[in-house]
């Protein structure tokens, strides 16, 4: 599975991001480090044209404006018409009514290939409070799997719920990934960049769930390596080392992956 990183570097897919103002620079640098080719284009006059030539389109609602929502829908529809996969990152859905309704609005008007958020964001988009009920981490984990499967069925797409353990599901198949490091939560935009990195892997691969599992795992592996170089309390150093490690990822990193494929029945038994 991990030969995908080599393929990605050879193909240098163009990833068209319509993203928030906090993370644009980090997203572009992360995609460059990975070996993809980032472009940010937001004007409604140009997004259809840009989405058409892109390998993937990533829509991120972190800092919304009415103009940007309009541009996202135009870009998403253009991507749909041209067979370009679309990733949606519903940043902060649930924090304000506006974000929740915008995420749903996009999901209604655009065929989203993959939805990536934390459990709170995804459950708010779904409209259920599943993931928020439990306080015990084991229980929450179970809820995340349910939530990912429910969201995947509802929106007919692949869903990635990130957390201490990440869950990836397309409704049929479900995986968990346990790579990563807590320093990722001390650097802004690491979730947003992951959405764009997943976009880069979707751009080179029809098998969206495998592409997403590899992307999530490699991303976490880069974080683990970066954390070994930075001190435990050095978010500035970690950010720099993380970009370095994204650039150094290669297919020999496969053995570091912590991927678990859930059997649908086995899982239902377990719950």
């Amino acid at each position: 599975m991990f030969e995908r990183i080599t393929r990605l570097r050879n193909q240098e897919p163009l990833v068209h991001n319509i993203t928030n103002v906090v993370v644009t620079n980090f997203t572009a640098n992360g995609l460059y480090a990975l070996g993809a080719s980032p472009v940010m284009a937001y004007a409604k006059e140009e997004v259809a044209e840009m989405a058409q030539i892109a390998g993937a389109v990533v829509l991120n609602i972190g800092t919304l404006t009415e103009d940007q929502i309009e541009a996202m829908i135009i870009a998403g529809k253009s991507a749909n018409q041209n067979g370009v996969p679309v990733v949606l990152d519903p940043v902060g859905a649930g924090a304000t009514t506006y974000r929740t309704s915008t995420a749903r609005n996009i999901l209604e008007k655009v065929d989203v290939s993959l939805l990536r958020g934390n459990a709170a964001e995804v459950s708010n988009v779904v409209g259920e409070q599943i993931a928020m009920k439990g306080v015990d981490s084991g229980n929450i984990q179970g809820n995340h799997i349910d939530l990912a499967q429910k969201a995947a069925e509802l929106f007919q797409c692949t869903v990635v719920i990130t957390g201490q353990t990440d869950v990836i599901s397309n409704g049929e198949d479900t995986y968990t990934v346990s790579n990563g490091h807590s320093l990722l939560t001390k650097v802004t935009g690491t979730g947003c960049l992951l959405s764009s990195v997943i976009g880069a892997f979707l751009a080179i691969d029809q098998n969206h769930i495998h592409a997403a599992v590899v992307a999530v795992s490699l991303y976490g592996i880069a974080a683990e390596k970066a954390a070994q170089k930075a001190g435990t309390n050095e978010p500035g150093r970690f950010q720099m080392e993380f970009l370095n490690e994204l650039a150094k990822l290669n297919e020999t990193d496969g053995p570091l992956a912590k991927i678990n494929h859930l059997q649908k029945e086995a899982h239902h038994d377990r719950l």
Copy 2:
């Protein structure tokens, strides 16, 4: 006083920033490093809701648009109605008429808890050229104290004037802080981030002047430590180390503080 940093880390206050496009990433990473929880939300459709759940709202006019000014006033009024402290950073007031009048417009419509700028910015907002008259640094210093006190009385808020020596006044009480390092002036957004860091301390503390004094002093201490690690001419390295040092701040740093409490009468004698 410095137990506040521990309290802040435990409470992880949500700081709602409406800030300029130059510093969003650095502001978010600085707040994360400190132990606060940053959020950027600018749409007028959502800012009232976000300000309501925030621990503090920080308004920064560094790159203005009409939409953003409208959002700032909505967010500020929502914060006022919900008892959430508001910090205003009048970036570039005096450089253009538009910035000066926008800063005054916000101060008129929103009850600002704390105003933070350099002497030129604050004096332009006040409408007097006090700080600009002197060229001798001792004299300027005296002017900064006058200016801070006058601004505090005029706007009925706490005022922080940053410079080689920082002045903090609420009109009654006045402090100077001499921590910091000249490399702070070689990295963009260090003033803006300080405004947001002060916001994080106001979020956990009713005593605004003490909170601001501690915030300004700790911020300077982190800069001093970062400068010891970076070379004297290494702004790139300094920026990284500064984020690390914000994350490493703790209450045992108290003895490094260089804080001076001015007696109102003594000060008037001195002038």
Copy 3:
């Protein structure tokens, strides 16, 4: 020629950037590191006033909006009226119709002093596909020289085409510069920052072509030094070291310059 870097540090020219959301932070930090004074101001209510007091205005179309285009034209005209040099960076011209037409629109309405782009961008603005015909690098190089001279004559300005070898021409005089490092292509905004750095040098120098040649060469020298400190596959580290090296540039770096002055006739012979 390289005494200009000392002069720049002494004068600290104010560079007014209207630039894209991806690179604002890096641009500001790069200009600070160099010794210039960056300002970003985008509101149409203030850009004329800001451009008037600036040493140079840099217009960058990387993430366009209609409001920003309007602001760019107002700022450009104000700069023209006040004798302030204007740099245009036509990011992505050719990638979408909107970008190409916006770049041309600005060139029509504003007297641009210097145009900086890669060969694809400049050829699209010119409206010819010269640089895109060849695939052999020697041939492309020849085409870049032709293209720079043609663009310089067409727009009556200095043109900088960056690539493995950079070409600088004002139609009469043409130079090539071979400093730089491939890691520059792995960090977002290095082209945009170069445009702003050139702006800083134009601000202190009536001789635009000499100023541009020195700026391009010194920028490449800083990259070469930064690459010696970073590993070959460390874009995160490179970005940090590059800011450090911009701060450390000085006139004794002259001997590292790889500048070639083309004789007009000799060049035509060669072609």
